[in-house]
């Protein structure tokens, strides 16, 4: 059997990473084989439970389709095995050629969701900086950055994870807890048991709505109008946190003026949510404030104007007084640690990061380039050519919009390197494919900002010939002559020590506590004694920063494209946000049991629409 476990028999405690919730798990090992996964105790996030996706992680580890050896594409498009050393030598050589010919910025690094965040992300960012390119891409520009920016622009921090169980009212926007955040389910159930009200706002009717006091179905992408309607109601009624707004915010007058037109009737016209339902939601908020939890899910940011729609909801949340309280917009404190990004050491000015001209906030706040614009640069329509790409743990040929264009763009590169567990559609376009390590094959630091806890994951097994992510960047860096300087650590354990150094928490301490260690006690109402981390130190209801960049200071509502340009030719609207619990983004599609339950792609459609003659139903 593939892989060597680090113990012959017993239990290895670690964290799951079949999704990003990172539940504590116990991996059972018998006679050198991993034989089962059970939930681990002591982690407040998963509370001794886990989900079947995580329970099936061994099927991923032992999957017969895993890539075991580096592959190189031949001119006829077929792949041959190549030694790892040779592959890395050739990749480094080609990278230098691109650098010589077109400049370092013509190389890009793209990190996907599948390998995780924190240090895994920082390796990729570090490597890009050290090589001299600002062009770091990730899945985040399609999902996550929107929510980050929507919060950050108002409060200066991002933490979407309130203590829901303490809320008197929970409002869920565009999110389906069992799929998006399984650990939230217990918290919602606790909140319900404590008598909390629930408002579910989603174009799709999910079972969580069975518990909702109000379930409202807005047209996709119109959440901003609803947010402004609720803001208007609170302002008109004088039912907002006057102290917070007067002493800790800027831009309130602009909000009051702009909210004026969002009467319940206008909101109904935009969103399709009945005017009296809008008023009822507002009343529930007033009754329960400030103990109101808002959760803005990924559903909101997958639309044009998504960031502003989220900002409007964050503003609404601030109006209720839910800033910096346990069940509201909690202000998390980071752990003191060494970062790996090199952003201070190597600022890389004037290199024109891809997309930073059109999307300056994205680059400024996230140091991240715009992955959709990258396709234009690959196809020669940018300010300079993007010639080479190293992609790890991502499958843009499936996940990025405009698949045909993406495939064409990837196919036009001089160098495409894909590091992955499986032969994905993106890997099929690569010049070199490197076998990646799964989460069970690495030991890394994980930080959960909600509980302010830090964890060390434990390696459970090694697969001969397969190296973890750190070693990929390390080995390439050493071939490119910046290894000594920027990737001096011999292995991930040394990196882990380096990351932890300033924290006062030792690696041994984390090893002894697989359920995690709280790095700082939780505190609330911090804004009373210190300024918020925005430029003004206050809640930015209107953003001077955005105004300076030439954008509206207030998160104005713009109707989504499908409403602006109603089309007779295409009368139906397709949203692609709904997920299955067993899959995670584009991952796990090749797991046998999961496929058995979901053998085919599915489209949900209203029976009346399906009855339209224009629908051809293929059997």
């Amino acid at each position: 059997m593939m892989g060597t476990t680090i113990i012959e028999n017993g239990i290895v405690k670690t964290l799951c990473r079949m999704c990003d919730n990172r539940c504590s798990i116990d991996v059972h090992v018998r006679d050198g084989n991993m034989v089962g996964i059970a939930p681990g105790e002591g982690n407040p996030s998963n509370q001794g439970r886990m989900c079947p996706r995580g329970g099936a992680a061994l099927d991923m580890f032992y999957h017969p389709d895993r890539i075991r050896k580096p592959l190189k594409r031949r001119t006829d498009g077929s792949f041959v095995e190549i030694s790892r050393d040779r592959a890395l030598d050739e990749i480094a050589e080609k990278m230098l050629k691109i650098k010589d010919r077109c400049g370092a910025r013509s190389m890009g690094i793209w990190k996907g969701e599948a390998v995780g965040f924190l240090q895994q992300e920082e390796y990729a960012r570090r490597f890009a900086r050290a090589f001299g390119t600002p062009n770091y891409f990730s899945n985040d520009s399609a999902c996550y950055n929107g929510r980050f920016m929507g919060h950050y622009l108002v409060t200066g921090f991002w933490n979407p994870f309130p203590y829901y169980a303490n809320a008197d009212l929970i409002l869920l926007f565009g999110t389906n807890p069992p799929v998006c955040h399984p650990p939230f389910m217990a918290e919602f159930a606790d909140a319900k048991a404590n008598g909390a009200n629930l408002v579910v706002i989603d174009p799709r009717l999910n079972p969580i709505a069975c518990y909702a006091d109000i379930f409202a179905q807005p047209l996709p992408g119109t959440d901003g109008a609803l947010a402004w309607g609720l803001i208007r109601h609170l302002v008109k009624a004088g039912e907002y946190d006057h102290r917070l707004i007067e002493h800790h915010s800027i831009g309130f007058e602009g909000v009051v003026d702009y909210a004026e037109k969002f009467t319940p009737e206008y909101v109904e016209e935009q969103t399709g949510v009945y005017a009296d339902v809008v008023v009822n939601i507002a009343r529930l908020i007033i009754e329960n404030r400030p103990k109101v939890s808002f959760y803005m899910g990924a559903g909101l940011e997958h639309h044009d104007n998504g960031v502003n729609n989220i900002r409007a909801l964050v503003i609404l949340s601030c109006l209720t007084g839910a800033l910096d309280i346990d069940c509201g917009l909690t202000w998390p404190e980071e752990m003191q640690r060494n970062k790996l990004t090199l952003y201070d050491e190597l600022p890389l000015e004037g290199k024109k990061p891809i997309g930073a001209d059109r999307f300056p906030v994205l680059y400024d706040l996230r140091k991240e380039c715009h992955s959709m614009t990258a396709m234009d640069y690959m196809l020669g329509h940018g300010d300079y050519p993007l010639k080479g790409l190293i992609i790890t743990a991502a499958n843009p040929a499936v996940t990025n919009p405009n698949t045909r264009k993406v495939e064409e763009a990837l196919g036009s590169l001089d160098l495409l390197v894909v590091n992955d567990l499986f032969f994905t559609k993106t890997a099929g376009r690569a010049h070199y494919i490197l076998p990646a390590a799964s989460f069970l094959e690495r030991s890394e630091i994980h930080i959960d900002i909600k509980y302010q806890r830090v964890y060390l994951t434990n390696k459970v097994a090694d697969v001969p010939g397969i190296q973890d992510e750190y070693m990929l960047w390390h080995d390439l860096a050493h071939r490119l002559d910046f290894g000594e300087r920027y990737f001096p650590w011999r292995n991930e354990t040394q990196v882990n020590r380096y990351i932890l150094e300033p924290s006062g928490i030792g690696l041994e301490q984390l090893q002894a506590h697989p359920e995690g260690v709280q790095y700082r006690p939780l505190t609330f109402k911090k804004h009373l004694s210190r300024p918020l981390p925005t430029a003004s130190g206050k809640i930015e209801l209107a953003s001077p920063y955005l105004k300076n960049l030439g954008f509206a200071a207030i998160p104005e509502y713009v109707p989504p494209y499908h409403l602006r340009e109603r089309s007779g030719e295409y009368p139906f609207l397709l949203t692609t946000g709904a997920r299955k619990t067993l899959f995670y983004h584009s991952r796990h599609q090749n797991m046998e049991y999961f496929r058995k339950l979901h053998p085919k792609a599915e489209v949900e459609i209203h029976p009346d629409d399906a009855a339209e003659p224009s629908f051809a139903v293929a059997s």
Binding site: A38, C51, A186, G195, T581
Partner: protein
């Protein structure tokens, strides 16, 4: 004895319990039928999850003509002796709840056997709607909640009831 019970107003119908059970069955070459069932009537906003109650007087056991259903000596779960089971389905007819069924791929009766004492569905219920304990601990849970709701008790209860 301990059974799997559901705290109904916590279930969000994620279906994880059904899936976990199916995977478990498949691992043990016991077919592909879940032995815990989640019913959602979304139009009426209702969710109901349930599994075999391991009845004291188990009608399925009583009617089986070849005594293929027995009690697990350790867990007291009603279990199917597959070598003996005829797949006749009398037990299915007898179970008042529909928790007994015939797995079509096996042609044998299949039901919840409590996974030998550590039910997978309970591990996998992140809503903590599923518990493994004596059925009276459900009664106790409910009493405490109702009492609290009615304000009859001032002290909050200790959460660690289930095992």
């Amino acid at each position: 004895m301990n059974v799997v019970f559901v705290e109904l107003d916590r279930c969000i119908a994620c279906l994880s319990c059904e899936q976990a059970c199916q995977f478990q069955q498949a691992e043990r070459n016991r077919g592909w039928s879940p032995n815990i069932f989640v019913n959602v009537d979304i139009d009426r906003r209702r969710i109901y999850a349930g599994t075999c109650l391991q009845c004291e007087t188990a009608l399925c056991m009583e009617v089986c003509p070849v005594s293929a259903l027995t009690r697990d000596p350790e867990t007291a779960a009603v279990i199917v002796e597959e070598e003996i089971c005829l797949g006749c389905g009398l037990c299915v007819a007898a179970c008042p709840f529909g928790y007994m069924q015939i797995d079509e791929s096996l042609g044998k009766a299949t039901k919840c056997d409590l996974c030998g004492g550590n039910p997978r569905c309970v591990q996998m219920c992140m809503a903590k709607a599923l518990h493994f304990g004596s059925i009276n601990s459900l009664a106790e849970l409910k009493r405490k909640q109702t009492d609290l709701r009615l304000g009859l008790r001032a002290v909050p209860y200790d959460e660690d009831d289930d095992q």
